[in-house]
Symmetry: C2
Subunit: 389 residues, 2 copies
C-alpha cells in the first residue's frame, strides 16, 4: 500500500533524531531533502521547545566543526496510571518510558470514575513534585483501564467490573483538569505495548497474554496494536478449549478458556478441595508454597492456555508470546504446560523460532505501556508539526 | 508509531493522484508543501513517462484556467498468473487490476519449474499481443504459487505438491527472460489481496478462507497482508476442531480442520458411502445435484470451519470473512453452517457487524490479487522515485 505523502515539518526531523543518534544540519538536509533554510528554521523551533539539544561536535572535514543535534529524552515527562479492579499503580516517566517516580495504592475501581480520577489528579500532582517536575513539563497522560475501551474517545464500553464507568469520558475529564492530552486504553493492550517496548522492540509480531482472574491478550503486529474491527481483538478468554467441554462459563457457553484456566476458576477448584485460595493471588501463593494440588492445577491450566494459543500460533505466526498477569507469577509451571502443548501441536515452521517467555516488566507493564502509548502519540510527526510552530 | 520521514519525490505526487481525482499544480503544492519549481519538475517527469495525463481544466478563480493532472491507469500493463496444482489462469491487466485479456489451461504444476515457467513466458507474449500491448509497456509480473513462498525472494519453500520447485528462484528466472520486476507469493495470500480489492477495499481487517482440497487463509490487517514472523501465518488447516478428535491428519496430529472438512476428506467419505466423488470438485458436483449425503456433509464441514473461525473471530476481530476455493462453490450450504456456529459461539461485540460472504471474484481472485500485488509494489512512492528520475 502507499505511504502518506507528507512528513516535511519539524516532526520529520524529530522522528529521525529519535533513534538517539546525533546528526548535523547537513545530514538532516540529506535525509529529508529539505533546503538548508527550512532545516535551520525547524531546528530552531525544536531547540526553542527543548525537544532537541546540541550534541558534541560532529567530525568535520577540515573546516569549522559542524554542530550536531540530538533528541532530548528529558524534554518532557509523562504521567501514567494502571487502574486495576482493586489496586492502582501511578508513575511519572521520561520520554524513554523510564520511571522517574511511582506509587501504588489499594483503590477499588468500583468507587466510580469521579472519586477514582479525582484521587489520580492529586496523586499525579504529588508525584510530579516528588520527581522535581512541574505540570508545564507534562506532555501527556496515559491511563490503563480494566475493561473494554472505545478507541478514539477512551471511554469504557459496558465494562463488567467497573460500575458507574460506562461511557464516562475519562480522557476529557482528566484533560480538563490537567490541561494536557490524555489517552486511555484497555489494560491488556497497554501491557502489550510495554512488554514489546521493554523485551522485544525489534519483534514485528508479539502477543501478550494476561492470565489473572480472567484471560485476555494484546496483539502487536507490524509494531502496532491490532485492535480489530470493533476494538474487540484479543478476547481469547471465551475461546473453547478442545479438550474440556463440561464447564459452563459466565458468558453462557461451555468450555471457555477463562472458565477452565482463569485464576477465578482455579481458586474455586482449590477451595472445593479444601484449600485456602480466595483469588488468583491465593492460587499463586499455594503454588509457591509447593502445594501439590495447586501445582498440578496450574500446570494443567498452562496446557489449556497452550491449546488455545496453538490455534493462534498457526493462524497468526507470532515471533514472541509474553505471559503476564497474576497467574503468570507462578512462573515456570505455567510456561512449561503451555510450551508442552504448543510445541507438540503447532506447525513446525511457526514454532521454529517462537519465543515463549514470562513478562519482563511484571507489575510495571501497565505504567510503562501507558507511557509508550503517550510518547508515540506526542512524538508522531504530525503531532510535533502541530505543536512546534 | 512514527512514520517514515521521506516521501518528497515524484512518488509522493503519484500517491496523491492515485485516488483518481485530478488536481492542479497549486493543489499539489499545498498537499505536499513542496515549492512550485519542485512540483513542476516532478510533474514533467511523470508526464514524460505517461504515469499521469493532463485532465480537464479545473475550475479557475477568475484568471486563466489551471491545468489539472490525473493518474493514467492505462500507463502500463501487468502480467499475472495463478498457478494451481493442475490448472492455471494467466491475464494481462491495467493499473486498476482490470483484466484486459486472459487464458486458462490445464497445466500440472508437477511438470516442474522450467517447463511451467517457459510455457508462461510464451503465453504472456501471446496474451500481450492479443491485448494490443508490447513488453515495453509491462511494469511488472505477479505470480501465485500453490505452496509456501519465502517473502522477499519469492522462492517456494518445501512445497508439498510442487515436486522440483523447492527453492527455485521463480522471480529471478522470469525477470531474466522478461526484463521487468517479478513478484511471487502463496496463492491464498494473493487471493486475499484480490478479494479485499474487489469486495471491501475500505475494510481494515479481512480474512480470506480458501476451502479446496486443503484449507488455508490469507489475512489482511491495516489493509496489508499479514504474513507472520516466518511467513507461516494463515495455516488454519491444522488447527484442531474442538468437536471431533478421532480423525488422523496427514500431518500426524488428530482432529485437524483439513482432515475433517477439507475437500479431499469430504470426497473420501463420499466414496466410502458409494458416491462418485474423485476430489473437491466432485463433492461440489454432488451438492449441486442435490445429493442429500453430500449436502449433509458439506453443511457439517461449514460448521467445522466455523468452529475454527470462531476462535479467530474472538482473537482477531475481523470486519469481513470471505470464503473461496472449490468447496465454497457449493455456496449457501457451507456459509449457512459457518454462520450457524460463528454467530452462536463468538462474542457479540465481535460479530455485531461481521460480514461473512462468498468470494466475489471466484476463479479470478488469484490473477486479480497478483495484479494488485504488483501495482502496489510498482506505484509505492519510493519505487516511483527510483524509476522517475
Amino acid at each position: 500500500m502507499l505511504g502518506e505523502p507528507g512528513g516535511t515539518g519539524a516532526g520529520a526531523l524529530l522522528s529521525i533524531l529519535r533513534d538517539g543518534q546525533a546528526r548535523t544540519r547537513a545530514e538532516l538536509m540529506q535525509l529529508t531533502g529539505l533546503a538548508r533554510s527550512t532545516v535551520s528554521q525547524r531546528l530552531d523551533a525544536l531547540l526553542d521547545q527543548r525537544w532537541i539539544i546540541p550534541a558534541q561536535d560532529a567530525i568535520s572535514s577540515g573546516g569549522r566543526p559542524a554542530v550536531a543535534f540530538a533528541f532530548n529524552q528529558g524534554a518532557r515527562v509523562v504521567l501514567t496510571a494502571d487502574l486495576g479492579a482493586t489496586h492502582t499503580r501511578v508513575a511519572v516517566t521520561d520520554l524513554a518510558a523510564g520511571i522517574l517516580a511511582e506509587r501504588t495504592a489499594d483503590l477499588p475501581i468500583e468507587r466510580g470514575p469521579e472519586a477514582t480520577l479525582g484521587w489520580l489528579v492529586e496523586t499525579f500532582t504529588d508525584l510530579l513534585a516528588e520527581a522535581g517536575h512541574g505540570l508545564d513539563e507534562v506532555c501527556g497522560v496515559g491511563v490503563g483501564l480494566p475493561g473494554p475501551v472505545e478507541h478514539g474517545t477512551g471511554r469504557p464500553i459496558n465494562p463488567p467490573i467497573m460500575p458507574g464507568w460506562d461511557a464516562f469520558p475519562v480522557p476529557a475529564w482528566l484533560s480538563e483538569r490537567l490541561g494536557v492530552p490524555v489517552l486511555a486504553d484497555n489494560d491488556v493492550n497497554i501491557m502489550a505495548l510495554g512488554e514489546h517496548w521493554a523485551a522485544r522492540p525489534e519483534a514485528d509480531h508479539l502477543i501478550f497474554v494476561k492470565i489473572g482472574t480472567g484471560i485476555g491478550c494484546g496483539i502487536i503486529t507490524e509494531r502496532r496494536l491490532h485492535r480489530g474491527a470493533q476494538g474487540a481483538a484479543g478476547d481469547i478468554g471465551h475461546i473453547r478449549v478442545p479438550s474440556t467441554d463440561d464447564v459452563v462459563c459466565r458468558c453462557g457457553n461451555i468450555g471457555c478458556l477463562e472458565a477452565v484456566a482463569g485464576g477465578g476458576a482455579l481458586a474455586g477448584r482449590l477451595r472445593e478441595a479444601g484449600e485456602d485460595a480466595a483469588d488468583s493471588r491465593g492460587v499463586v501463593r499455594l503454588v509457591r508454597a509447593g502445594n501439590p494440588h495447586a501445582v498440578r492445577l496450574i500446570r494443567q491450566a498452562g496446557r489449556e492456555v497452550g491449546e488455545v494459543l496453538t490455534s493462534i500460533v498457526n493462524f497468526f505466526n507470532p515471533a514472541v508470546i509474553v505471559i503476564g498477569g497474576d497467574i503468570a507469577e507462578a512462573g515456570e509451571h505455567v510456561l512449561a504446560g503451555m510450551r508442552e502443548v504448543i510445541y507438540s501441536r503447532s506447525l513446525p515452521l511457526a514454532t521454529q523460532h517462537l519465543d515463549i517467555r514470562a513478562s519482563e516488566l511484571g507489575d510495571r507493564a501497565g505504567v510503562t505501556g501507558a507511557a509508550v502509548m503517550v510518547i508515540e502519540h506526542v512524538l508522531a510527526p504530525t503531532a510535533v508539526d502541530q505543536t512546534v510552530a
